[in-house]
């Protein structure tokens, strides 16, 4: 079967210079007047190597009709750039992509919606923006409104919609475009759970009809359930392409610095002056077994091996980051008012007990050693170790029924028993 999407050596280069350009006409004129010759020369000369960054480089893959492809990678890996090129918003610098059929993208959900216009008007407007004919929209109108569940509000300005209704209507229009290739970028991160389920359902329906889908998400559960195949982008390059499980495991271990035994090689990318080096990191569960998968509610123990060249008062940092590189939380050794650790020259071991506060998901540890007095960075290693918190309760069943829960950190909370309440009285009064 012929490929509906063929991407060959695709690359996008940005000139950093662009970003530093004067942003007002005045600043530009001033610079121009001060050094006219240099400026003209500057505008036309070829950019220097260090002014150029490749947001995407040498990416090739093919997609056949009806395939669903997941794209994974951390923030800044080039996922959005790839989707932008495929949806023709921005031009590639090199390479090409052949698209055989229609392509539309859910990056654009709700774009072009105007708050002052009614739901009906916006459906027509958005349809036109996405490339639909008026007759086509008229034909699908009832079905769009029904899918969005806003039948009663079609003639209400969308500024009066809840954000959920707004998103549903926007998604409904895009979903009814029925393109041959659908690009989906993290739409599932918004909207309520019910809506997310409908989106996933709609996407399954869509793929069932032989449509091709390219799906970008940080949600591994969604990627796993929707995409048999995935590709991994890392700093603009294609690092893996294959069955989803292989690619996800490649993704999870990309850039993890420590080896199996917990040793951290000296040559991993680090920050800091180097008076102290993190040499070792191990992760233990409650039974002192080394672990890669933690159950929910299990305390974690991090054992850090440090090598110090001199005597130094150290502020130690344990960071926990999600897969996309977002820092979920940070613990310092001075958090509860304890003094910083005094490290003597030679090897030191520090053990950190982390309370069981993480929600299910994949995480990575970042370790930092800072100078407690002047605050300078002595050593910092990102993604030194990865681990997963499983969605399992003590009996081994799913803890969170939906298979996914948003956020990273469980909030310590105390819930009351349900009590009879009188709706007419404000809560404060009722309590008093």
């Amino acid at each position: 079967m012929a490929a509906v999407l063929q991407v060959e050596g695709l690359g996008k280069q940005y000139r950093i210079h662009h970003l530093e350009r004067p942003q007002t006409l005045r600043a530009s004129l001033q610079r121009f007047l001060r050094t006219p010759v240099a400026r003209i020369h500057d505008a036309f000369r070829a950019p220097r190597e260090d002014e150029l960054i490749w947001a995407l480089r040498d990416v090739s893959f093919e997609l056949e009709r009806g395939q669903v492809l997941g794209i994974v990678g951390r923030n800044g890996a080039g996922k959005s750039t790839l989707l932008k090129i495929l949806s023709r918003i921005t031009d590639p610098t090199e390479g090409y992509a052949e698209v055989r059929g229609t392509l539309s993208s859910l990056l654009e959900v709700g774009t072009g919606f105007h708050p002052e216009l009614t739901g009906r008007d916006n459906v027509y407007l958005n349809g036109a923006i996405l490339g639909m004919r008026r007759a086509e929209v008229t034909k699908k109108f009832a079905s769009i409104v029904e899918f969005a569940g806003v039948e009663a509000f079609v003639d209400t300005p969308v500024k009066r919609y809840s954000s959920g209704m707004y998103m549903r209507l926007a998604f409904a229009v895009a979903a009814h475009l029925e393109p041959d290739i659908l690009l989906v970028d993290e739409v599932l991160a918004v909207g309520d759970l019910e809506f997310q389920r409908r989106c996933l359902g709609k996407m399954r329906e869509v793929t069932g009809e032989g449509r091709t889908v390219v799906f970008v998400s940080h949600n591994m559960a969604a990627i796993r359930s929707l995409c048999p195949r995935a590709i991994l982008l890392d700093r603009g390059r294609l690092r893996a392409d294959g069955p989803v499980e292989d690619v996800i495991s490649a993704y999870l271990t990309t850039d993890v610095k420590a080896d199996r035994s917990g040793a951290v090689p000296a040559d991993v990318p680090r920050l800091g002056v180097g008076d102290v080096r993190v040499r070792h990191v191990e992760l233990y569960g409650p039974d002192e077994e080394p672990l890669a998968h933690a159950r929910l509610g299990q305390p974690l123990t991090v054992v850090i091996g440090l090598e110090s060249k001199r005597r130094v008062l150290a502020l130690l940092e344990v960071g926990i980051s999600s897969l996309d590189g977002t820092r979920a939380t940070t613990a310092f050794n001075t958090d509860d008012g304890q003094p910083a650790h005094m490290l003597e020259p030679g090897y030191t071991r520090v053990t950190v007990q982390l309370e069981p506060f993480l929600l299910p998901g994949h995480y990575a540890l970042d370790l930092g050693v800072h100078h407690a007095g002047i605050g300078g960075v002595l050593d910092f290693v990102e993604r030194i170790r990865d681990f997963e918190v499983l969605n399992l309760d003590d009996e081994g069943r799913d803890k969170y029924p939906l298979g996914r829960v948003r956020g990273y950190v469980r909030s310590p909370a105390r819930w009351s028993e349900p009590e009879p309440a009188d709706w007419d009285r404000p809560a404060v009064e009722a309590r008093g």
């Binding site: 006409l25 921005t90 031009d91 229609t102 990056l107 072009g112 027509y124």
Partner: protein, 290 residues
Amino acid sequence: MSTTLDTQVSPAEESRRLGYRIEPRRGRFFDLDLRELWDYRELLYFLTWRDLKVRYQQTLLGLSWAVIQPLVTMFVFTIIFNRVGNIQPEYHVPYPLFVTAGLLPWFYFTGALSKVAGSIVSNSGLVSKIYFPRLLIPIANAVVPVVDFLASFLLLVGMFLWYGRTPHWHAVVFPFFLGMALFTALGVGLWLAALNVRYRDVGYLVTFATQIWLFLTPIAYGSSIVPQRFKWLVSINPLTGVCDGFRWSVLGRGEPHYSVYGISWGVAILLTLTGLWYFRRTEREFADII
């Protein structure tokens, strides 16, 4: 290729049949791609419709703004230029009627120019998220104020009635002058719209420049004030052709100033062509820097 004329074929279906290739754009010096614009003509209609609808939903006085603005300006001009400054009208009509006939196309022009100039930036959401021919945005913004212009005709009709006069029959050629104003606004506006993506102070420039421009254009005064040997010079300002011509068409007896219209049209077309060229040349980086 009879199928391309089928109005039921959407741009989406069009690309399905043909497929397309995404690659670095290079080469051709001037590539207007009229065919693609034509494919997206319905979007032009919807963008125009959206702007009109939103505009008159959100304003208190709606279309009557189109009448109030020139009406008030007419009063001010009459007092300052006619009563105080003793500037005399042409065409043997009262000064208020004379100045109004010049103000209507002027208001269209400034309205269109400022909308076109800000059009890409104010639609940055669309530009950075969806592919469609970017040219549609400035074009729609040049077309929307035409509705205001037509509404402001009411003022002119009212003033003819007030003075008990009738417009000249060759008022029917007014679209010729309106077109001149539209192309000028579009041409200058395309330059500014593209520059505005990078330099956000273009907006101030427009406000300031149109204030000066107003007095360089024969609106408060008639074009006969200008000495014959400088006629060509003022005609380079296409608004001279627009306002003088529009005035002649509704009030005029006597000979039209063909050479003025010719030069002004020429400049308007030249501005539009260079504007199109610059816009097409820079549009590919809009999404990257907006």
